[in-house]
Amino acid sequence: MATYANLENVLNDIEQSTGLPNAHYTDSTLFEEEKHALIFSEWAGLAVASEIPEPGDAKPYEFLGMPILMVRDDDGAVRVFQNICRHRGMILVSEPRRIEGAIRCPYHSWCYSKKGKLVSTPHVGGPGRNVHKSIDRGTLGLVEIRSHVWMDVVWINVSGDAPAFADKHSDLIDRWADFNVPLHHGGNDSRFELGLDTNWKLAIENYCESYHLPWIHPGLNSYSRLEDHYNIELPGLYSGQGSKAYRQLKGGDGEKFADFHGVGEKWREQAEYIAVYPNVMLGVHRDHTFTIILEPVSISKTIEHVHIYYSEANTQEKLRRKNTAQWKEIFIEDIFVVEGMQRGRSADGFDGGRFSPIMDTPTHCFHQWAASSIQSHRSLMNAAE
């Protein structure tokens, strides 16, 4: 096993600690290690359930190189499988489509139900003979990946051994109980993607903190001043920032989005923005929420998949578009920062950087989670060698 920089200093108290070493942003070997240590071992965001609204809808993904198929079964449940046939490992579904009956492998036509059960193995025992004693269909269903839907995000645990999502994230689920209501995706005008030339962790690190707002988002500062913000941290799970100065978006005639049903008084002028480790960034407001799923493409490339939700299905398109444009402008303002920090990681000898003990605690919380998770993973790997 290769020797990497010691991470002990990242785990120090914030006043002494430095961030993750450069290699964690520039070395493809570490990207591969972090895939297992930080993403496959956790509940990671794959996509949103709204992308497959009807039973039979299926959509393939390549998530960190792994072919994945998301399907809504006939009972309406979202299921996530490895997108490969148990026969010769052929890709089953190559583009989003509606599956009317079974999922048929395009190679030798082995067929699977939408729940992943292997239902037919044509000619497996010779022409016209569809059974063979060595082919036990009961053990050859699609490989299902643990999944859980919350805030419309389809969270997956590839390693299969994380605590149940509802247990692991019970604190956040309770914190945002007011948003445990139907979230209505705004549709095509409420989703967009941003390609970033940066490591995925830098997008999280930037999202966590409010320290950068006055300089990077001066437009926000006109009503949401730095002093209106507070830090949010739950070590090992999530971190972010809240604002006590949220103002609802208004249309030309003063029209606004309706509040989420039953949303409490707390949220009248409050909003929260939380990065759920490893790769999902969420924002909640009295009248809309948004989700950003980070797709780590390589050590230095990331795609942000953005989705915006409302309290009701029929919102005004003009107002929706205005809201999308407003958020898109803010997220675009962040690009030069996360790309600049990525380029900065090529500075030989950079020590990972220091943190403001007051303003950077959410980012430090993320670094500590990453460092301790990587160390745990290395211990496990060393023990297995």
């Binding site: 009956g101 048929r104 239902v119 037919s120 044509p122 000619h123 016209g128 569809n130």
Partner: protein, 71 residues
């Protein structure tokens, strides 16, 4: 199988016309005196029915099961 039927099957494959393939493979299964060939075509019809969720799926499955070719 007649050349005409063979051509229709090839054309249906070419057009990915799965619903027609069900009917054509069933037709093909009736044109042969060979039981294995009959089951071969019935199997193809069954797979097409399975894929499309056709109402003929159960009938075809029952046929193959009766012949000991499905479970």
């Amino acid at each position: 199988m007649s050349e005409e039927l063979n051509s229709k099957i090839l054309a249906a494959h070419c057009e990915k016309d799965i619903h027609s393939l069900i009917r054509l493979y069933v037709e093909a299964s009736k044109t042969t005196g060979n039981h294995d060939e009959e089951c071969f075509f019935l199997t193809n019809a069954y797979i097409c029915a399975l894929e499309t969720g056709s109402s003929e799926t159960k009938f075809l499955h029952d046929q193959l099961k009766k012949y000991g070719r499905e479970i």
